[in-house]
Amino acid sequence: MKKKKHLLPLFMAGAMALSAGFTSPAVQAAEPLKIGMITTLSGGGASLGIDIRDGFMLGLKMKDGKLGGVETQVIEVDDARKVGNAKQIATRMIKQDDVDIVTGIVWSNLAMAVVPSVTRAGKFYISPNAGPSALAGKKCHENYFNVAWQNDNLHEAAGQYVTDKGLKNVYLMAPNYPAGKDAIAGFKRFYKGDVAGEVYTKLGQVDYAAELANLRAAKPDAVYFFLPGGMGINFVKQYSQAGLNAETPLFGPAFSFDEGILKAVGDAAVGVYNTSQWNKDIDNPANTSFVKAFKETYGRNPSLYASQGYDAALLIDSAVASVGGDLSDDGKFRDALRKAEFDSVRGDFKFGSNQHPVQDIYVRVVHKDGDIVTNKIVSKVFSAHQDAYATECKL
């Protein structure tokens, strides 16, 4: 009891000092820009969220902590890849923290759960990764912008490239969940040959021996697979151990061959073709300075996820600057975002009518640069490619 009495005034004084400390700068300076970043920083798939966050923070750092000249505060919360967490965090950010913009989500199922509630509350959502078809089509929203891609884009490019190469009998593999089915649908939209086999594996599967034996027996010309994260590492290692990479070329989207994954797969991935909207060897000043700064700051090569996080920061920067730091008029800010007047690290970039990117897509090959296994661009597959759902969006 006695102790409590002594402590109480201390707490009071502390609380007063703290609240004074927090409120006084706001009186002096203009309202800071508040950005809520919900992303995956722990558990499986954390490397993707960390890359997005690091890319975004690098963008902010290069603008001296001020996007569009306004003091910027980033509230960063880990969703641990769980839909429930992401929804809770979003609600807190909207109601309690009163953020201006939400960004950061990696996974499509989380985006589907969070984005509508963010836009409904009158806030802006800038997607640095997930681009589910529904949000690009019928459920598109004037406050939702995707600065990465629509989910199908990279698969469509792979379909086109495989067709261009004259491969006529392709084996398809993806996990049995919505993004897996979208991937195969996207591939088939541009692929003109026959399908040697179409296999849906369990989400999170670790061993592919059974599938690989069937695959070999089907004797395809090529294999196209979409197995993001750890599933892709498992598959590529086992594909190589089975001696299949000498017989049958492997194609995939960039998601299975980012820098982190290549480090874990090693030589087994050499020679694999993958499609991407970005690579670190794209030659433009924005990209050169991004790649250099990222390596200096974090001591590793940036991945496409990092490039998307970085572009998200630059997009916000350009729009905030364009309205002179005044976010009170949503309409003006929205128009400024639509213009996308920033130097994207991927080169030419603009938004389509559904506020998803219209951009070039490349095919890269995994090769060995000295001791490091990494990607280089082979050719451009699509120029100014737009997603297939834009026509369904009534914006």
């Binding site: 954390a46 590492i233 086992q238 090693g266």
Partner: protein, 308 residues
């Protein structure tokens, strides 16, 4: 299109998956059967085995050293875990144990992330085992998978010898059923439990090290195999190592055959689009159907633990 060769190859795959599951299940079933402890953190020991094997192999260029280091690291971590925390849970109910060991999963996942970073580690196949052997005509089989089958079967034999023919094994069997009596005879039961836990942890570490060259060495890799492992020990009978072996092989075979042949079978019955989806869903529940069938037939699993 089912040929004899393909069937044989898929059987080998099933055997290999079963052996891998056995290494995990043997330790879990010993701990579950003897100490009545549900240890969800068993998968974390598997992860530690894989991470240590990857780091040591990379540093020393020797996969053998990597495996030995993994055995040591997982065994020590296991014993430390038992001594410092799990020991207090033996007399608590299962829900407390689940909660506490689930907390340990989170702890170990974050610890590994702090020590090694969030990105997956690289562990290459040892040079000697990186090729394929074509003893089935037209279906070259990865030598590394054959190596796993061999290693797993040797471990099974060693474990059998340990439990049936050694003093420690005798005490393990006795301690499972007559704990107080063994204690009254002057055996240090606490110490015995720590040793048993250490053996289980080493087996999990070995499984992790062996899995490393085939799988992604990443945070959370243990949870993926843990669920299957629980299915194995429930089918095999909790506490029985023989049951763990039979259960593991059954689960490995059923899972592999399901994934390998259900799509072909379903395509005979349905149109291709729905056949693929139905087959994928059916093969992922196949082992749970197996578990249900076994439990209806033998509610306590295929084999009984020693004496009970």
């Amino acid at each position: 299109m089912l040929t004899i060769e393909l069937f044989f190859e898929q059987s080998l795959n099933g055997l290999q998956q079963g052996v891998m599951l056995f290494l995990m299940a043997a330790g879990l079933t010993l701990v579950f059967g003897i100490m009545h402890l549900i240890n969800l953190a068993h998968g974390s020991l598997y992860m530690i085995g894989a991470y240590v094997a990857a780091s040591v192999t990379q540093a020393s260029d020797s996969f053998v050293l990597g495996i030995l280091a993994a055995l040591g690291a997982a065994g020590l971590t296991g014993m430390l875990l038992e001594f410092s925390a799990l020991r207090r849970l033996y007399n608590r109910d299962h829900l407390d144990q689940v909660l506490a060991t689930f907390g340990m999963i989170l702890f170990f996942n974050e610890l590994v992330k702090i020590l090694w970073g969030p990105q997956a580690l690289f562990l290459s196949t040892p040079e000697l085992l990186s090729g394929t052997l074509e003893f089935i005509p037209g279906a070259p089989y990865p030598s590394y998978r054959l190596f796993i089958i061999g290693a797993g079967l040797i471990v099974a034999l060693l474990l059998r010898h340990l439990i049936i023919h050694t003093r420690v094994g005798m005490l393990i069997r006795a301690g499972a059923t007559h704990r107080e009596m063994v204690g009254a005879l002057g055996v240090n039961i606490d110490q015995l439990y720590t040793i048993v836990f250490g053996i289980g942890a080493m087996l999990a570490g070995l499984a992790g090290a062996l899995a490393g060259p085939m799988l992604a060495v990443e945070v959370g890799m243990g949870e993926k195999i843990l669920i299957l492992t629980f299915v194995v020990i429930i089918i095999g009978g909790i506490g029985s190592v023989r049951g763990a072996l039979v259960g593991a092989l059954l689960v490995g075979m059923v899972d592999t055959y399901g994934r390998a042949f259900l799509p072909t079978i379903m395509r005979e019955l349905l149109d291709p689009a729905s056949a693929d989806t139905v087959a994928a869903s059916m093969s992922s529940v196949a082992i749970y159907v197996l578990m249900a069938v076994v439990l209806i037939w033998k509610p306590r699993g295929l084999f009984q633990a020693y004496g009970s």
